[in-house]
Structures are given as C-alpha cells and as structure tokens.
C-alpha cells in the first residue's frame, strides 16, 4: 500500500509556544484516520502544517512520497477547512462557481473549465443534495448548506486523499450522520484515503480504521481495535470513556 502521508518528529510553534511536539505517524492509501484530542491539543495546527499553511519548526513532512515543500500534485487531495469564518459573507459567487474552484488544481493556465468539468460539478452537487442551490449565492445559504457546498468543492476533483478539519461542527445531527455515511462510502467504494479531525470521538469510532490521539504530542496512534484493547488508553481515559469511544456501551 502506498504511503500518502509521512510525518517524522514534527514540532510546530505559535510564537514561543510549542503547539506540537515530536509528532510522527503515517497514513497509507485506503486508511480512514481519525485525529482526536481536546481543545487546543494541536489538531488543526497539524492539518495546517501538513498542507503547508504554517511552517514546520522542526521535522519532516511528505505527501505522496514528496517533501511537502516541493509538493505540487494538489489535484490528488481535497481539503475541507474547520469553518467558513474567513470567508467573506458578501462574496458574490454562486454555489456552482464556488464548487468549480475545486477543479483548478489539476489544470494548466489559463485554467478554463470545459463541458465535462461543468457536468462533474453538477453531479457532485446532486450527490450532496445541493443541486437545487447551484445558482444561489454562497452567502445566502445556512451554515449546514455552506458546509455541504464546501464538501462538494473538496470532493469534485475525486481526490485520492481527503483532509477534513472539524467538518461537522455546523451540521445538525441528521445531516451529520449522512455526511459521515457519505465519507465512509467514498473510503470503502472508491478507496479514498480520509484524514478527519474531530471532537466527535463517539461517532468517529464507527467509521475510522485508525486513530491518532493528540494532546500536543501523540498519546496514541494505531488501529481502532488496538486503541480499544489498550490498557494504557483505559488507564488514560478511564474505562467508561474508552467504552463510549469504542461503542461497547
């Protein structure tokens, strides 16, 4: 199996504060990795470091076998950020225009869209039940609808690796379950590798094959079964919490 992500002895800092310390793990093709941990544990920092959105202080990151600094095959990955806060609510783009931006990665200048691209955008919108919103302005949608549009943007290129940071925060429970089902289906049917950051430890156990428990350093990295049978993790979380995560209740 191809190794899509390799992180070795990664340390990141926010100013003088160490946000991540000595992180090492790898993700192989077809994995579904859940990254969990308490608030401020460095989950989002790790994702941002992986994607080159913040500099690594020390350590090595490689994506698809290439050093992150030289990585250019962005069409192979899709990214769904933590929230839509940085987006300008007055941005004058339709849902269709936003989703088609997800196709730019694989194109050469002047990066124009062909008829096939437009069909691909429409199919993805339909798949996520937002086809009827294609001509609506992105700023007019509810938080949940915006999140589904952004998911469509991340998926429209059929990425091999999907990286999502707290994607279900703005979703109501029913939509959240459908979202998890959809991602799990992509992982199972298409072999899409998934890296999902979440607070939702109770739900992620139903879907993820591996888990990285983070609190500025790696507390656990391995398969879900290993996590559930680990005496160290039982001692760390207490048996009750571990059972909730492992769905043994």
């Amino acid at each position: 199996m191809q190794e899509l992500i390799r992180v070795e002895q990664l340390t990141c800092r926010h100013g003088v504060v160490e946000a991540l310390s000595d992180i090492s793990f790898s993700v192989s093709s077809g994995d579904y990795l859940g990254i969990v941990g308490p608030n401020g544990s460095g989950k989002s920092t790790l994702v941002r470091a992986l994607l080159g959105l913040m500099p690594a202080y020390h350590g090595q990151i490689s994506l698809f076998g290439q050093s992150r600094d030289r990585f250019s095959a962005w069409e192979r990955l899709g990214y769904l950020p933590q929230n839509l806060g940085p987006l300008n609510p007055a941005f004058p783009a339709t849902v269709f225009e936003v989703v088609q931006l997800g196709l730019l990665a694989g194109k050469t200048l002047p990066k124009r869209l062909c008829r096939h691209d437009r069909k691909q955008v429409l199919e993805m919108l339909e798949r996520l039940d937002v086809g009827h919103l294609q001509q609506r302005m992105i700023g007019e949608l509810s938080g949940g609808q915006q999140q589904r549009v952004m998911l469509a943007r991340a998926l429209v290129n059929n990425p091999e690796l999907l990286i999502m940071d707290e994607p279900t925060a703005a979703l109501d429970p029913e939509i959240r379950d459908r979202f998890y089902e959809l991602v799990a289906q992509m992982n199972k049917d298409k072999g899409t590798t998934v890296l999902l950051v979440t607070h939702d430890t109770g739900t992620i156990g139903q879907y993820a094959s591996r888990m990285l428990y983070l609190d500025k350093k790696v507390l656990f990295f391995g398969s879900f079964d290993e996590f559930c049978h680990s005496p160290e993790m039982s001692a760390f979380f207490g048996e009750h919490s571990q059972h909730l995560i492992c769905h043994r209740h």
């Binding site: 080159g52 959105l53 931006l101």
Partner: protein, 277 residues
C-alpha cells in the same frame, strides 16, 4: 453642438478611447481589490504617483515621457507595500500609509524645489483627460493589452485567491506570486488612471463601479461584467457631460459613478425588503 459633432473632435475621440481603456481596467481590478479589502492600495499608489510625477517634472520630462519615471517608481512602491506588510510586522493599511505618505512628501518637496511647474502638477492631481496626447494614448493601449492579458490568464486563480487564500494555496495557486501580480497590475492601472481622473480620485474609480456591481450582481462573472458596464457609463457619460457643461472631467466621472452606486444600493435595499415580505 450636437453629440455627433462632439465625437468628431480628435481630442474627444482620444479622451473617450483612453477613458474606456482605463475604465475597463479599473472596473475589473476593482472587483478583486474591493473583495480582498485592498481598496486603499489604489489610494496609496496614487499618492506615490503624485511623487513620481513631481520627480519626472523635476527631471524636465513632459507628456508620455513622464511615464518612464512614474511606471517603475509606482511598480516598485507596490512591491514595497507588500514587502513591508509581510516582513516588517505591519498590517497592510500601515504599510500603505507609510509608502503613500513618503510619496506625497517627496512630491511636495520636489514641487517647492522646482518652482514653476505647479500648474502642471495640479493637472495631475485632478486629471486632464481631454488633454491626452497621441503618444499617451498609445502607451495606455499597450498597458491595457498587457494588464488584460495577465488578468485573462490568471482570472480563475485570482477568483480562488479572492474567495479564500488558504483554500487557494491548497489548490496549487501561487498565492505570493498572485498577490505581487495584483499589486503590480494595480500600479500600472493607477499610473494610467492619473491622467483620467487625477491622483486624488483614482481610488474612487477602482472602488465605486466594483462596489455598485456588488450591490446588484448575482455571481462573480456577473459582478465583473456589471462593474465594467458601470465604469464605462461613468467614464463616457462623465467626459461628455463635463465637456458640455464645462466642468472638470475627473470629478464629473466620479460623481456619476457615485450616483450609479446609490442606485445599486437602493436596488439592493428594495430587493431585501421584497425578499422579507
């Protein structure tokens, strides 16, 4: 005088053609600048343009030859703003403030040192499109083609960058390069627009048509198209009205653009009320 007679004058044809070229550039760039909250970069670069014009006059240059000084100075200043904002732990607004105040100070200092060209400098403060020469029109045409070609080439990348810088980075968009390109294209446009509306009103030509389009458009492409349309109505209407009523052309163009913006704002408010009811 009929409108047809008006258009038969050579100076009016040159003014309208130059106005259209500059109006289109400002309208397209303005959409990106307003949405990226970089509108004031136009104002800052306009102040630098003032300094560069004073420098060119001080060096004894006239007409199109002045662009030989203005273009490189303003281009360098645009990259200086980005560098300052990125490296000197400053916000973009502070960097613009520093660079633009240096430009104005330089202009005032040179104006005092080189007594005798105060009237020329004044014409650059408020624009004198009706006095545009054949050579200046040719330079405007060349720069128009260059800027529009680059905007066409990087249009989708610029849309992605404007939507969200981080998502653009993860889509392989060269964010630092594009930020530099946007600043450089703005610099070229500002130098051209100086002749149309003058240093004092350049930023308004970048901001008003784009802002009016943002009130009414539904979609990014539509915003760009409407911004161009509003800009052309302001520029052509402003030049014609200013000539017929013997008014300053720069100020007339901007006030017309403001009237269009007011209609756009009113339209949006009416739409909001209609949607609520």
């Amino acid at each position: 005088m009929t409108i047809l007679e008006l258009f038969s004058y050579g100076f009016m044809q040159r003014a309208l053609l130059a106005g259209i070229l500059i109006g289109v550039l400002c309208a397209v760039l303005g959409v990106f600048l307003v949405l990226r909250r970089l509108s004031l970069i136009g104002d800052g670069l306009a102040h630098i343009t003032f300094g560069s014009v004073a420098l060119a006059l001080f060096a004894g240059l006239q007409g199109a030859a002045m662009l030989l000084v203005s273009l490189p100075v303003v281009l360098l200043a645009s990259l200086g703003i980005l560098k300052l904002a990125g490296k000197a732990r400053l916000g973009g607004d502070a960097a613009i403030g520093i660079v633009s105040s240096v430009g104005v100070s330089l202009g005032v200092l040179l104006a005092v040192l080189g007594r005798g060209y105060g009237v020329d400098l004044f014409s650059y403060l408020f624009g004198s499109i009706l006095a545009i020469s054949q050579a200046e029109l040719l330079v405007a045409g060349g720069l128009f083609v260059t800027v529009m070609a680059l905007l066409w080439l990087y249009y989708n990348d610029l849309v992605a960058l404007t939507f969200n810088e981080e998502l653009a980075t993860v889509s392989g968009v060269r964010v630092r390069f594009l930020n530099g390109l946007l600043a450089a294209l703005t610099a070229l446009t500002v130098v051209l627009a100086m002749k149309l509306v003058g240093v004092m009103l350049i930023s308004a030509l970048l901001i008003l048509p784009a802002s009016a389009a943002l009130q009414v458009a539904r979609g990014f492409r539509m915003t760009v198209i409407l911004s161009v349309l509003f800009s052309l109505v302001s520029v052509v209407g402003g030049i014609v009205i200013s000539f017929l009523l013997n008014l300053p052309s720069g100020a007339t163009i901007i006030l017309l653009a403001f009237v269009i913006f007011c209609f756009g704002y009113l339209f949006r408010q009416l739409q909001t009320v209609k949607n609520r009811s």
